[in-house]
């Protein structure tokens, strides 16, 4: 772990010094007690703020749209897929970014630690698959993000520099959450989601954190007319989420940021997984896996299924 951090800092220093990038987006902490946060390094002297540890969860790809010029970015395997997506959608140019790709063995979900890890975080050690939390041994699988359990692309598909040891892809087996929902009938499903959407406070964190929610005008914000009301009435909240998810269908790479950002802890990745499955079955497409791909809903293939058009 320490190796990766040192290597990252050295590379960042070099890139800034040689003016290969004018900003480097990475993870940083002011002091070691802090959880890592997104930081923007513009000068060599600030490079020592850069960290890498098993809490670096944010998908920094979102910030590529905020910066100008040559941008360096630290990205995990999952994050790289969303960067590929943004390049496919011509939001950024490949030649304008330098990807410092990290082969990521998985990230720890502080919500799964006792007391959000406030007391124990600092004394945490990780050896292979065992994590020591406050003197207690825990399996990594118990404390990592759900998405890491089934990560197919822990090593960046696209990168200019790669850090860390090769990590084996995990077996795709998210079947459980999807098949459980699929086996429900419409009424049961509605009941399941209503019980959760009822808690939604419409803070829009899911939208703002999403690398693919970059529209300058969003239908959810329109006021004349207000297509979706600000009311937290279930009918409006359902619509809010349905619209957002339909707009990222075929683009979403399951970086899991919507679910992580949600303060009310709504299980939004369940929807992500269902959409992912549909896109795979209908169009045999997996978003963000190749720079050469054209986004699936931007291409037309004579063999595309049409049986859903009625």
């Amino acid at each position: 772990m320490i190796n990766i951090q040192d290597e990252l800092r050295a590379k960042a220093k070099e890139l800034l010094k040689k003016k290969k990038v004018n900003v480097l987006i990475g993870y940083g902490s002011l002091n070691e007690n802090d959880l890592p946060k997104p930081i923007f390094i513009r000068e060599e002297k600030d490079v020592d703020m850069l960290v890498w540890n098993p809490f670096c969860i944010n998908n920094l790809g979102k910030y590529l749209l905020k910066e100008r010029g040559k941008i360096g970015i630290v990205a995990k395997g999952c994050d790289v897929r969303s960067i590929i997506g943004l390049i496919q959608e011509h939001k950024i140019k490949r030649e304008n970014i330098v990807i410092l790709g990290i082969r990521c063995p998985g990230i720890i979900d502080i919500r799964k630690l006792p007391d959000k890890g406030n007391a124990t975080r600092l004394h945490m050690e990780r050896k292979n698959n065992v994590v020591m939390v406050g003197g207690k041994k825990m399996q990594f699988e118990e404390v990592c993000y759900d998405k890491c359990l089934t990560c197919k692309y822990p090593s960046p598909i696209e990168a200019d520099f790669r850090f860390g040891e090769e990590v084996k892809a995990r077996k795709e087996n998210e079947g459980d959450s999807v098949s459980k929902l699929e086996s429900m009938n419409i009424e049961e499903r509605l009941k399941y989601w209503d019980a959760r959407f009822e808690k939604c406070i419409r803070c829009t964190a899911c939208r703002e954190i999403c690398p693919f929610c970059y529209c300058e005008r969003c239908i959810l914000d329109e006021t004349i007319p207000a297509w979706v009301s600000r009311s937290t009435d279930l009918s409006d909240t359902r619509l809010f989420h349905m619209i957002r998810f339909l707009h990222v269908a075929g683009r979403c790479v399951d970086c899991g940021e919507c679910e992580r950002a949600c303060p009310m802890e709504l299980p939004l990745r369940k929807i992500v997984k269902m959409i992912e499955k549909d896109i795979k079955e209908m169009f045999d497409f997996e978003p963000g896996t190749s720079l050469e791909d054209i986004p699936v809903l931007a291409q037309y293939n004579i063999e595309d299924r049409e049986d859903f058009i009625r």
Binding site: I201, E208, S229, M264
Partner: protein, 344 residues
């Protein structure tokens, strides 16, 4: 001041009885989260072992969506009707933390100032506040830095968790009346000592995270400083911090179409959204993201103290705990304070 104790297992019974005369809101478990919910028509168990609720109970008096009136098309035009607000029982909030009680004092001033907000005042009328001392403040708590305390509150009753027994101090007439219930026993010296100990332990665990001295003045001078863009860079402008803030009280009034007519509704609004200040002309005085963060700080630490004499922050730490990008109001305030020193 009446001082009593109640055994832990009697709490459910007490709440059931209080439920006869009040609409009781209490902390309950919901899929691993702790939220304040009405116990009316609910079979959920109340939890007392919690640090703080994910969402402050401000919505008891200031719900996220409030219907002002409804309107519908009729054969001879449009008819409007005030929203049905049956004045049922007064509200009671059980086990609300001292920081959240402090926030209600600000709400009272805001909603009964130049304009008497009847929606708020009706819900607040005759309400009972039973607060619960924070025996174990969280790492993210900083109430003592903003003039609060983990062990005192302007409530009707304040409880202290002593394990098997809960210590209860009646602070108002209505609070003392509740303590007359036979579930409460007179507090012995032993319990009083234990309570004292718990209080000093809680107070001792709090650190001062910034110095509030002349904060309004310091903030006031920082408006044109160049650092705002830098320090708010990672903020994505979602509304989590404002919606989960116990003192944030801004709202919007809009119309929503419903079958055969519509509703005029009042909903929480957030200064983090560009829509908050978007003019009809298309101009937006706070179009830049950093200016919205600056506004949030100015409102809490300058405008509210200047106008109402109260800070707009009670140190509950929810904003920094739930921020998806790790924005930390303590850190930002400290930057503003230290920049002020270096520039002079």
């Amino acid at each position: 001041m009446t001082e009593k104790v109640i055994s832990r297992e009697k709490i459910q019974d007490l709440l059931k009885k209080l439920g006869e005369s009040y609409n009781v809101f209490a902390p309950v478990q919901d899929e691993g989260k702790v939220l304040f919910m009405s116990l009316e028509n609910s079979s959920r168990d109340v939890v007392l072992e919690f640090k703080n609720a994910l969402k402050p109970p401000k919505e008891v008096f200031f719900p996220q969506t409030d219907i002002l009136f409804t309107f519908m098309k009729t054969t001879d035009g449009v008819r409007s009707e005030d929203a049905q607000r049956k004045k049922s029982k007064p509200n009671l909030i059980f086990a609300i933390r001292p920081c959240d009680v402090q926030a209600l004092q600000l709400f009272d001033k805001v909603f009964s100032g130049d304009y008497q907000d009847s929606l708020y005042l009706e819900r607040r009328e005759d309400s009972i506040i039973i607060s619960m001392v924070c025996s174990e403040p969280q790492e993210t708590c900083f109430c003592t830095s903003v003039g609060g305390s983990p062990v005192t509150a302007e409530a009707d009753i304040i409880l202290t968790d002593l394990g098997d027994q809960i210590f209860a101090s009646g602070l108002t007439e209505s609070g003392e009346k509740i303590l007359e219930d036979r579930n409460f026993k007179t507090a012995t010296r032993e319990f009083m000592d234990k309570k004292k100990e718990a209080h000093s332990r809680a107070e001792g665990s709090m650190k001062e995270v910034f110095n509030m001295n002349k904060i309004s003045e310091i903030i006031g001078k920082s408006f044109e400083k160049p650092f705002w863009n830098d320090i708010s860079r990672r903020c994505i402008n979602c509304y989590t911090c404002t919606f989960l803030c116990p003192t944030c009280h801004c709202f919007d009034i809009t119309d929503v179409k419903r079958k055969g007519g519509g509703e005029r509704i009042k909903t929480w609004d957030s200064c983090m959204s560009p829509l908050f200040t978007l003019h009809a002309s298309g101009h937006n005085p706070r179009g830049e993201e950093y200016s919205r963060w600056r506004q949030r700080l100015f409102h809490k630490f300058k405008y509210l103290p200047d106008n109402l004499g109260l800070l707009g922050c009670v140190g509950c730490g929810r904003c920094l705990d739930t921020c998806p990008t790790g924005m930390d109001i303590r850190e930002i305030l400290n930057i503003v304070i230290s920049e002020d020193k270096t520039k002079e």
